[in-house]
Symmetry: C2
Subunit: 199 residues, 2 copies
C-alpha cells in the first residue's frame, strides 16, 4: 500500500483543466436559453443510486424573469451578492432526500446532487461559459421564498454566465481571482490498497 | 414560472452522452497506471466548498495488489460481487465530513465527493474506459478492513475497466444491461423561477 502521486505526463481532458469558479461575470452578456438547457441536460444524465435522480434545480434567468432572479439573489450572503449580481443566471441546486420508490431516506441524495452539479459546470465549460457554486446562502429563505419543500435540501447556489474582467472586482476578490488554482497533492487524497493516515 | 423542457436541438458534450454504468467488464483487459492517475486527477480538480476537497479514494488495482483488491471486493454485496469481480480496478469513494480549517462538520462533504466521483467517471469515459458506482457495500466492513477513519464516510464503491460483452452476464443483469438508458424529463427536475410541485 502507498500513496498515489500525480503524473504530469497524464493530463486530464481539457474540460477539467479549463473549468474554474471565477467571481468576475460579464453582466452585459446573457446566456442563451439553448445553452442553459444544454447544461441542465448534462446534469440530467448524471448517474445516481437506484437511478433515483434526486437532483432538483430552481433556475432564475434574469432576462426572462427579473423578479425571480432578484428573489434568488436575495437568498445569497451579502458577500456573494456583491459579485453574483453580475451573473445572468442564478440557480439553486437541491437534493430530494427521500427515495421515490419507497419513501425511505436516500443517503446518496446529496452525493448524487453533487454529481449532477459538476456535470452542469463541465457542460457550461464546454460552451465557453463559467460557473461558480456557493455554499453561502440562507437555506430557510430558499425554502420560504422559492417554495422548496421540506424534504428537499438546498445544497448550493450557482452563478452561470460569461467571464468578466478581474479588474472589475474589488481588491479582496481580485486577489483571489488572480491567484493560481491549487489542489492538495494526489498523495493526500488517494491511497493504494488501504487507507494511509495523512498526518 | 414554468417547468423547463428538453431541447433535442441542444445536445450535450459527447462525454455526457457516452458515459454509462455497465455491469459487463472485460476481465482480460487491465487498466494502465497512467489512465488510472488521469481519472484521479480529474476528480482532484473538482470544485468544493471552501476548497476543502473532502473526497478520499482507496484504490485497489488487481494487477498491483491482488490481496487489497480481494479485500475491497469482499466489502461489496454478493449481487454486486457477481459482476464487479471482472473489473481490474475497484475503488472506495469516501467523504471527509469535517472541514480541515476549523474541524466543524462539512455539510457539503458528500455533495463534493459526488462532484469528484463523476469527474473521475467522465475522465474514464474520455479514455475509453467504463465505470459503475455502487451503493451496495458493507460500510462497517469498509471502515474495519480498509482502515477508513470514523470521520470519513464511505459513499460509493466504483468499478473501473473496459467494457465486456453483455452476453457474459446472467439473464437478469443482461436485461438491465441491454435496456435503453432513461432519465426523468427535464420538466420534472428543473423549474423556472420557483419550485413547481411535480405531483
Amino acid at each position: 500500500m502507498s500513496n498515489i502521486q500525480s503524473n504530469p505526463e497524464q493530463p486530464t481532458h481539457a474540460l477539467f483543466q479549463i473549468r474554474w469558479s471565477p467571481r468576475a461575470f460579464d453582466a452585459s452578456k446573457d446566456v442563451s436559453a439553448e445553452h442553459l438547457v444544454s447544461c441542465l441536460e448534462a446534469a440530467r444524465w448524471a448517474p445516481s443510486c437506484f437511478g433515483d435522480q434526486p437532483w432538483r434545480f430552481v433556475v432564475c434567468h434574469r432576462s426572462v424573469d427579473e423578479v425571480a432572479w432578484q428573489r434568488l439573489l436575495a437568498c445569497l450572503t451579502p458577500k456573494n451578492q456583491e459579485w453574483a449580481k453580475n451573473a445572468p443566471v442564478l440557480m439553486m441546486i437541491c437534493a430530494n432526500t427521500v427515495f421515490a420508490h419507497n419513501q425511505a431516506p436516500n443517503r446518496w441524495a446529496e452525493y448524487d446532487a453533487g454529481q449532477a452539479a459538476v456535470s452542469f459546470c463541465l457542460q457550461a465549460t464546454a460552451l465557453g461559459l463559467v460557473t461558480h457554486q456557493m455554499g453561502g446562502f440562507d437555506a430557510d429563505k430558499v425554502h420560504a421564498d422559492l417554495g422548496v419543500p421540506e424534504n428537499v435540501t438546498p445544497m448550493a447556489a450557482l452563478a452561470l454566465g460569461y467571464q468578466g474582467d478581474a479588474e472589475s472586482l474589488d481588491d479582496g476578490f481580485k486577489a483571489i481571482e488572480q491567484a493560481p488554482r491549487a489542489r492538495k497533492p494526489l498523495a493526500e487524497i488517494a491511497f493504494m490498497g488501504q487507507w494511509v493516515a495523512a498526518d
